[in-house]
């Protein structure tokens, strides 16, 4: 346990009268090495406080055992769960995660991508910013054949594997549920964005509205957060005719909206039913509890990581654009359940 000099395989080799190559092999558990030798090497390594030098190894092997992750923000329960899923799979397989936030900025996303590229990550997992134009900054990865997968927020015209829920389908379910509760004046609150999560949820809403032939409008907000939800509520309060059912494309905005409506004396769900999206734990804490759509983040993250590692290690060939659906479902709670009150 020397505290200054780093121990190398040469130190071990010298001490044991072996060659560095033998030590290297022994340490990696190469079966060609005699068991007794292997044990001596490992014992000695332990005693000397040896730790393998990742850089030398990486330099030699041209691999980093590191996966880059770019997400818009860390601070949602959903995202933490995604990352926990990735981390678990990564660690199991001897990979590290370098996590970076794009803070919803396309430019920051590009910078992060560049940094990770230069750090020679073995693979990249991305959830895009809302303002995703054509994300050219991922081209270097495909050019150098560094595996890349997207999850949650995926590119419109992608040629990579993606892991998402069926946003359209579930938004459709949520909207049908509102109709089922007797709502006839529907409203969708979302962010103006081409990104799949919001675009698809909007399409789902519109599909359900169309098939039922009732009224359905959309109110756009700037960000999908609490305050924006409150603003939307103010807009709603100013309408000549109030909606009686609202589908909001995430929980934070739904809750902000619901809070403000209630502060204005609106009864939820009696006057207006509300459904959010994501099943954030906070949705069970508000009064009334918010109906929402689950999003199994941990599973999505774990599956994305597993797929990526399979690709990295050549266990899976690149088979072009592929969209994997992570199963999710509508949860009806008080905010849209009129039946239990009857």
């Amino acid at each position: 346990m020397n505290s200054e000099k780093e121990i190398t395989i040469y130190d071990i080799a010298e001490k044991l009268n072996l060659s560095a190559s033998t030590v290297s092999r022994a340490l990696k558990g190469n079966t060609v090495i005699h068991e007794s030798t292997r044990q001596r090497v490992c014992k000695c390594a332990g005693e000397l406080g040896y730790r393998s030098n990742t850089f030398a190894s990486n330099l030699r092997q041209k691999r980093t055992h590191t996966i880059g992750v770019i997400v818009p923000r860390l601070n949602s329960n959903f995202m933490s769960k995604c990352l926990a899923g990735m981390e678990e799979v990564a660690t199991e397989n001897g990979y590290n995660l370098i996590i970076s936030q794009s803070h919803e900025s396309l430019q920051k996303e590009a910078e992060n991508a560049k940094t990770l590229f230069n750090n020679r990550v073995d693979g990249l997992i991305v959830s895009l910013t809302v303002e995703s134009g054509k994300p050219d900054h991922f081209k270097p990865f495909s050019e150098k054949r560094v595996p890349l997968v997207f999850f949650d927020r995926i590119p419109a015209y992608n040629s990579e594997a993606c892991f998402v829920t069926d946003n359209m389908e579930l938004a459709c379910d949520a909207t049908r549920h509102l109709i089922d509760q007797g709502c006839r004046q529907l409203l969708h609150i979302t962010q103006k964005s081409g990104i799949n999560v919001y675009a698809d949820r909007k399409s789902g809403f519109e599909k359900a509205v169309k098939e039922s032939g009732i009224s359905g409008k959309t109110v756009f907000i700037e960000k999908m957060d609490i305050d924006a939800g409150r603003q939307a509520a103010n807009e709603i309060m100013a309408m000549k005719k109030l909606p009686d059912g609202i589908f909001v494309s995430n929980d934070a905005a739904a809750i902000g909206c619901m809070k403000t409506l209630r502060e204005n004396g609106i009864k939820i769900p009696e006057q207006i039913c509300i459904v959010g999206y994501n099943n954030d734990p906070v949705s069970t804490l508000v009064t009334p509890m918010l109906s929402t759509v689950t999003y199994p983040g941990k599973e999505a993250g774990a599956r994305a990581a597993r797929y990526l590692i399979d690709r990295i290690e050549g266990r899976k060939n690149f088979s072009g654009e592929k969209c994997f659906i992570v199963k999710s479902e509508l949860i009806v709670r008080e905010s849209s359940n009129r039946k239990i009150n009857q």
Copy 2:
């Protein structure tokens, strides 16, 4: 933009009839190199699609420009903010973050520490698990003089820099506030743990109780989450004499407790005042809005990272154990404000 072979400084050197060292210097902006040469090199590097090989560089320089982070969990708003603060400072200074979760397990914490140590991070930022015994797993870092800082959850007898709020002081403030609201039967809900955050908040509670001479008890729960808070509420409901003021050592548990109390017909704050801790955004979403103590996570994270980088780069000498206080304050909201109702 060759897509297969990696360009090295030798390729650039050859093309420009220079030596590798000159190219290396030029690329790093070494002022000794002639400006025109520098420009030629940079231009050529761009054209060839050169990217620096971090490993070769790290191997040579014995530095990684990577900071390890170990936190109990990512999924709190507080922690995301801490990480955002760290990330910002790290990126500004050309460092990457490797973030790992201990999931409140001492063993996982030790594993993570080992992994990061073997990855030769230049420094380490840690928030401990609740079950921190004597964290021996950080010894290798001090032995190899790898700078280490703690934030939020810090060791009892530490010899490293720490960044925390004044938990005791603020818990004391919170408790005094309850007394000020007329509460005379106080209760503290917390987790049984030696870790500073909970121990200090408990001490602060006890200090305020003692100085006022009124009754103050403590109820212990297993985890500081919503469900445990609900359980605590059930215990409270079973008491012969209900408390009239509760200080809970985090917001999640406080909210769980408050929800269940209200479901049992208890009026908040009329019958029982409640104060939480952390100022999680959810504290403004519940009814009534929760009084709490702010915790500027972003600032704490940023300061910890800045300090660490200063240490790494030798701009700051190690000056032994040092506790830096991040300023925070009590926010009184509806859940403990009886005055506005009078």
